[in-house]
Subunit: 115 residues, 2 copies
C-alpha cells in the first residue's frame, strides 16, 4: 500500500524563538490539511498522521517549492506571518505540503535536510 505523509518546510531565520517556529509550522500543517484531498486525509490518518519537518534557508527556495507543488498538483499552503510580533514586516515563513502520497511529495522535498 502507498504511504502518505505531510511535509512541513520551514524557512530558517538567524534567530527566532522555538515557539514562533512551532506556531508557523502549525499554520502550515493546518493550512495544507484544508487543501488536501479528503481520501488522502483518510489514508494519512490510517498511517498515523506522519509529519516530516525540513528546512530551506531562503524565500526563493520556499516559493520555488510552492510552485513545484502547484505544477505537480499537490496541495500546499504557504504561510505569511502578519509581521505584528517578531517580524518587522509581513514575512513568508513556512510551506505545508499534503497530506499526499509520500512518493509524490518526495520528488519535491526529498533532497531537503531535516530541521
Amino acid at each position: 500500500m502507498d504511504t502518505y505523509k505531510q511535509v512541513i518546510v520551514m524557512r530558517k531565520f538567524p534567530s527566532l524563538r522555538k515557539g514562533k517556529y512551532i506556531a508557523q509550522g502549525c499554520h502550515a500543517s493546518l493550512g495544507a490539511y484544508h487543501q488536501a484531498d479528503k481520501k488522502d486525509i483518510l489514508y494519512w490518518a490510517a498511517s498515523g498522521y506522519t509529519k516530516i519537518v525540513v528546512y530551506v534557508d531562503s524565500l526563493e527556495k520556499l516559493s520555488d517549492l510552492a510552485g513545484d507543488c502547484g505544477n505537480a498538483n499537490i496541495p500546499c499552503y504557504l504561510v505569511e506571518d502578519a509581521g505584528r510580533t517578531e517580524f518587522p514586516v509581513p514575512t513568508f515563513t513556512a510551506l505545508g505540503i499534503g497530506p499526499a502520497r509520500s512518493e509524490d511529495i518526495d520528488k519535491i522535498t526529498g533532497h531537503l535536510p531535516l530541521f
Copy 2:
C-alpha cells in the same frame, strides 16, 4: 466580540531537534482541532487562526493541564510520540488546547511561559 485561539503546550526536553518539536506541535494542533466545537472553529478562523505556543518542564504538569481542560470542558488533545525515532520509549510530548474562547483557555494556561 470574544476572541478565540488555540494554545499548544510543549513539554520541554533537554535536547530535541527543532523539527521534532514542530512535528509534535503540529500533531497537538491538528488533534485538538479535531476535538473542537465547529462554531468555535469558525470564530477562530475569523480571528486568523491565532496559535500560541507555551511550555512546561514535566509530564506531570502536561497531564495536569489535560485534566484541567477536561474539567473545564475545553477540547484538548494529548500527543504521545510512538518512540520509534528520537525517544527510546513512547513519550507524551505536547498538548493542544482549543480552538476555544481565549478567556477560557487563559484560566488554564495564562501563567505559562512562551516557548
